[in-house]
């Protein structure tokens, strides 16, 4: 636990109540606590990664009320009342989400650091557009950086997932 998970003496605290991966969670936090630190440190969900920490890379992407956002660029207090989905919320009952399965099968990752964010944005894209073109996939993922794959297999994985979800 860092000093921010345990607020400094005298700092004003704000109650933040959210639903995370379907479960209600709440905590008293400093207003300056970033959503990504709330998720990683206060809630202990470390699948959400901190990459650039400057709103560039999208490794910290989570879904807030179904929309992908960069959790390093949002305060925990702004998320009060929201429904959050992190990568830990994708698999159900031990079965991988079709997007996770597709990233596995199409080798849509190498080091895996950007993968949670890539998958969450893909989940949101496919909820909105079940049959995206390659260009629409690249457009949706354009706020996120992968330094390994050259994006080819990520796009393939999203297409694979789209097909699997259409046929399900």
């Amino acid at each position: 636990m860092t000093e921010l998970a345990a607020p400094a003496t005298g700092a004003a605290l704000h109650r933040v109540a959210v639903t995370v991966n379907g479960r209600p969670r709440e905590a008293d936090v400093e207003a300056r606590l970033l959503l990504v630190h709330f998720i990683r440190q206060t809630l202990g969900l470390t699948g959400t990664h901190v990459g650039c920490d400057t709103t560039s890379c999208g490794a910290c992407t989570v879904l807030v009320d179904g929309l992908p956002v960069k959790s390093c660029t949002m305060l925990a207090v702004q998320a009060g009342g929201a429904e959050l989905t992190t990568v830990e919320g994708l698999a159900e009952g031990g079965a991988l989400h079709p997007v996770q399965q597709a990233f596995h099968e199409e080798h849509g990752l190498q080091c895996g650091f950007c993968t949670p964010g890539m998958m969450l944005t893909s989940v949101a894209l496919l909820a909105d557009n079940p049959s995206p073109s390659d260009e629409e996939i690249r457009w949706a993922l354009s706020g996120q950086i992968c330094r390994c794959t050259g994006y080819q297999n990520i796009v393939k994985a999203v297409q694979h997932a789209a097909q699997a979800m259409r046929e399900a």
Binding site: H14, E30, A31, R32, L34, T121, W139, G143, Q144
Partner: protein, 293 residues
């Protein structure tokens, strides 16, 4: 990176927002989506004693037609404009610009009014507002006032808003039935600041150019209006020569500086080319031609 400590206020009415700003006497910052403010806090470029969050104020998220024009509330996000049916056709400039702001994830949080209040000279919405002759509705302690786009921006990251005023909405006048616009932006990669960009809005009346607005991004201390280019183009038949002449004048109005995104000469050339393309697109849209947006 952690933001510095601040008091967090989340009022539930614009009156309370204005009161909270007044109590802090210029040391509070307003936050809508936070996509400009939070990075500044993390980099410790700003350290306000308080942040006043607009998000809990009801009724600020409307994007609607109003008196034949547009009304865009303080909490309307770039994403909303990107996907709105209203931001096409006559108001295609707004949809076109919205698609090019930052990246898709930032667009899910950031707001049009917040971007205007931030007044980044490389921000997109300032040029759009200049080209569309829009205005902002500002709430303050003595009521509401209207600030035309030309009077809103005062320099880099500086507006004419008082410290205890809040932008409640943007209003865009009715451009008439035969109108179109476009936003053309050059960026090194998605999410980078604009190297240069041009906002164009054109209305046709009896086959001639009636209203025309040209706003320039990233080539001056603030978003600039290419007034001489507008004056030259207005009243013309919107032919190729008139478009070329207006584009040259727009390039002359630019005040670019050389930096790692390009030389001043290069950026001036981008302004010329983008103005030319933008006017062609806007005129085609105003005529309702195929392929325009």
């Amino acid at each position: 990176m952690y933001p510095p400590r601040f008091d967090y206020l989340a009022p539930t009415s614009l009156e309370e927002v204005v009161a909270a700003l007044g109590e802090r006497d210029g040391d509070a910052k307003l936050m809508a989506g936070g996509q400009s403010l939070i990075p500044l806090l993390k980099l410790r470029i700003t350290s306000p004693s308080a942040i006043v969050d607009l998000a809990r104020v009801p009724g600020l998220d409307g994007l609607e037609e109003h008196d034949g024009g547009l009304r865009i509330g303080a909490l309307v996000r770039h994403r909303d404009a990107e996907r709105s049916e209203l931001c096409r056709g006559r108001f295609g400039l707004f949809g076109s610009a919205a698609r090019q702001v930052a990246d898709p994830l930032v667009r899910n949080r950031g707001t049009i009014c917040g971007s205007l209040a931030h007044a980044d000279p490389q921000g997109d919405w300032g040029s759009v507002l200049l080209a569309a002759r829009g205005e902002v509705t500002a709430h303050g302690p003595s009521g509401t006032r209207t600030i035309p786009a030309d009077e809103l921006l005062a320099g880099p990251f500086t507006t004419t808003l008082a410290a205890d005023e809040v932008i409640a909405a943007v209003r865009v006048p009715d451009p008439g039935p035969r109108a179109g616009g476009a936003y053309l932006k050059l960026e090194r990669k998605v999410g980078d600041f604009a190297t240069a960009a041009v906002a164009v809005q054109v209305s046709l009346e009896n086959g001639h150019v009636g209203q025309v607005g040209i706003g320039l991004t990233g080539v001056g201390p603030q978003n600039l209006r290419a007034t001489a280019a507008e004056d030259a183009f207005r009243g013309s038949e919107a032919g190729d020569d008139a478009i070329k002449a207006a584009a040259r004048l727009a390039a002359e109005a630019a005040e670019p500086q050389s930096d790692n995104r390009g030389t001043a000469e290069y950026k001036r050339n981008v302004i010329r080319v983008f103005t030319e393309r933008g006017l062609h697109a806007a005129v085609a849209a105003a005529k309702g031609e195929e392929g325009s947006r």
